[in-house]
Amino acid sequence: MDTFYTDLLCVGAGLAGERVAVAAAAGGFDSICLSIVPPRRSHSSAAQGGMQASLGNCCMGQGDCPDVHFADTVKGSDWGCDQEVARLFAETAPIAVREMAFWGIPWNRVVPGKSIYYKAGKQYEKVEAAERSGAIAARDFGGTAKWRTCYTSDGTGHTLLYTMDNEVVRLGVTVHDRVEALALIHDGITCMGVVARCLKTGKLRAYLGKATLIATGGYGKLYRESTNAVINWGDGAAVALDTGLVPIGNPEAVQFHPTGIVPTNILVTEGCRGDGGTLKDVNEERFMNIYEPAKQELASRDVVSRWMTHHIRIGKGVPSAYGPHLWLDIRHLGAQHIKTKLREVEEICNEFLDRDPITQLIPVRPAQHYSMGGVRTDKDGAAYGLKGLYAAGEAACWDLHGFNRLGGNSLAETIVAGRIVGEKIVEYLEGRQTEFKTSVVRQAVNREQERIEGLIGSTGKENVYELRAAMGDVLMDRVGIFRNQADLQGAVEKLQVLYDRSKKLGLRSTSVHGANPELGTALRLPGMVRLALCIAYGALTRTESRGAHAREDYPERNDRDWLKRTLAYWKNEGDPLPVLEYEKPSTVWQMPPGERGYGSTRIICSEDTEICIPKPETN
């Protein structure tokens, strides 16, 4: 078996993983990045709309600063985030954006003079100042007080990731693509690396690092309908959970994006609404202006998704062979705008819907989009439970997003957290000698080897793909946008049955040569179901509504009892359920809980004087 040694092992070569590797390389340390796909194909490349940083260059962003960005983020999170982290983030974001510009991103720039823009379907005029000409521009996104989202057309994630990988190539960072981490190697105290499977040869490998980073992205593909890429299975969270020592923070905080296209759930960016697109119903009438007079289409994602679901439920959806949906209208933005600032959207509509967004409406419906939860870390990115283990990006619960992430904040998170966590890892690595205990390594590898042999020789009858689909259905139908006791209880029970069944898998393809895709799915399925159980059980237990977690039977945000973060552990493989613990979301309360200014206003106030000035601020 091949064994690789390095200083920093990055599991994941998306934006977060690569940014950390770049920081390590800049600090003089070796790293190896593992990735299931070539790094530039990581899901970061699919992000379209943009990333937030309070540069305040354009006229609609004037007066923006980290304070405002911080406040927007905390409100967006429904006070579920770590405010210390949010502050750090808001302050670093402008530097991170400029650094990316320095490395080569072709950010869209301020064009001086008059131009028109649309908001909520109406046309307005703005004048950009000549002295800001050529500075990095920004567009409008949901839940923000200012235009703050820096962008390159609607390929922001793509340009960010390509530029980041250019740095990786320049610095000579090693990348092993088509390698999938299966398990962490640890002795109960320190993490030493991972056991991985090479997806070219099918062989197991050991990767040993003085520090290990989990940056495997989100776990949207647990759900049936998700905007995520097909490899977003949540491997990183699953292998961390699997240790029994590392908790998943806020697993129940799952974001649905308002505009997945029907039927394929491919995302069309929030930039569509940011640039003035509107949502319409079966009568081709707008409705967000009625439900949310202030922010209208640009309320935060959780809020818009809920109103859309509500609107469909009261019969205003457009019937189709794939169930009811609503319309997104960007026709009034005009061909010129669509062809330059929303060209991926145009392409997606033409290619996947046979529709021309310049003249036709786009069928949309909320779809799973983002996992706010993930491997719980402290503000340095160090995971709870194991020394030498870090996490960053969507895989982590650093906790910038709390119960709802703002659009544009997660691309920003990847490079900001990557920058900060990378520096912390360099500090950790300096002068560190890690002893890789061969017995521990061998044991970890043997365990995976036995799992593989067990599956190959299994006499089980359960079909991998059927179980995976069943899990996706349970989450989608019962742990979706609106949640309630009965559905969630049922979800937990069904998932437990699936978990048992996942131990009796039978493979039809028993080759041990090469990738064997069925074996790959079988190996990760139990971990996926465990993660799904964390989501469902976390949601069942949290009897309040906060951000994206909306309980029909507990519609209020309950700061008195629930201003706390879920920590889900899976202590033993045989356990039927995760163990849930809770912690306060932050030690820093620069912004006491209050109203968001959009969405529901039902709040049960906290009585904790440490976090709350007794009377909540309105506004």
Partner: protein, 260 residues
């Protein structure tokens, strides 16, 4: 995913099968049949074949939205992204082959990762500058029109279609840089942040493996799923690289002058 109204056609898929890791495997074509459904793409079709008929079938998908470049393959002889290819635009018999030039991983899956990493190293795909990043400084200004021009070239998704479609790359798979590399060079050439001069670019592409090895076959231009203006970029590159050398020629020929 498999839901949807059937369209009345039974599709026949002839799919290349070979697992180079398995000593018992030999290259062959396998046939599969599927009822066509509404809005069916090759992404949907291949996943159904794997889940329902042949769980060993190897292929690559990621974004399933035409933006990550994972799923390029030869579809009835032409390279294209499988995920954005609708079956309704294809005949009832569909032949799927892995892309040539790239190393075969298995069945329809090829190793584009190694190839593109080498490409990026070869063209030194990064901004070359003597400056250092100063976190306290504002960003350098840039004209928005130029930013958009750079983005136009930056849109390449490294799918490899242009390489598979190139006769030259098929003839000399080990050496020829391919249109994606030329596009990348062109992208840095117009970027004022990159301080490389023409001679430095020439060092990278001014040779038989580079732009002067390109035969102008335009298979790249005609297949690029992102519609990158490869023809125009390659023309610009050949002109710049070719004509800029004429002055060196004159300098070398002029008596009394040292080559410098």
């Amino acid at each position: 995913m498999s839901g949807g109204v059937t369209m009345g056609r039974t599709l026949k898929f002839n799919i290349f099968r070979f697992n180079p890791e398995d000593p018992a495997s030999a290259p062959r074509m396998d046939a599969y049949f599927l009822e066509e459904t509404e809005a069916m793409t090759l992404f949907i079709a291949l996943n159904r074949i794997r889940e329902e008929q042949d769980p060993a079938l190897m292929f690559d998908f990621m974004c399933r939205a035409g933006i990550c470049g994972s799923c390029a393959m030869m579809i009835n002889g032409r390279p294209d992204l499988a995920c954005h290819t609708k079956t309704k635009n294809l005949p009832a018999e569909i032949t799927l082959m892995p892309m040539p030039v790239f190393k075969l991983v298995g069945d329809l899956s090829v190793d584009t990762g190694t190839w593109f990493r080498a490409m990026n190293e070869k063209v030194q795909s990064w901004i070359h500058t003597a400056k250092r990043f100063d976190p306290g400084q504002e960003e350098e200004r840039m004209d928005n029109a130029l930013a958009e021009e750079i983005y136009e070239m930056e849109r390449c998704i490294e799918c490899g279609c242009c390489v598979a479609a190139c006769g030259k790359a098929n003839m000399v798979p080990e050496n020829f840089m391919g249109a994606a590399a030329f596009n990348r060079i062109a992208r840095f050439m117009i970027d004022p942040r990159d301080e490389r001069n023409n001679d430095e670019y020439f060092e990278v592409v001014g040779n038989e493996d580079g732009i002067f090895g390109c035969l102008g076959l335009l298979g790249c231009e005609d297949t690029c799923p992102k519609n990158i203006p490869l023809q125009d970029e390659l023309g610009m590159l050949r002109r710049k690289m070719g004509f800029s050398q004429v002055k060196h020629l004159f300098r070398a020929l002029l008596p009394g002058k040292k080559m410098a």
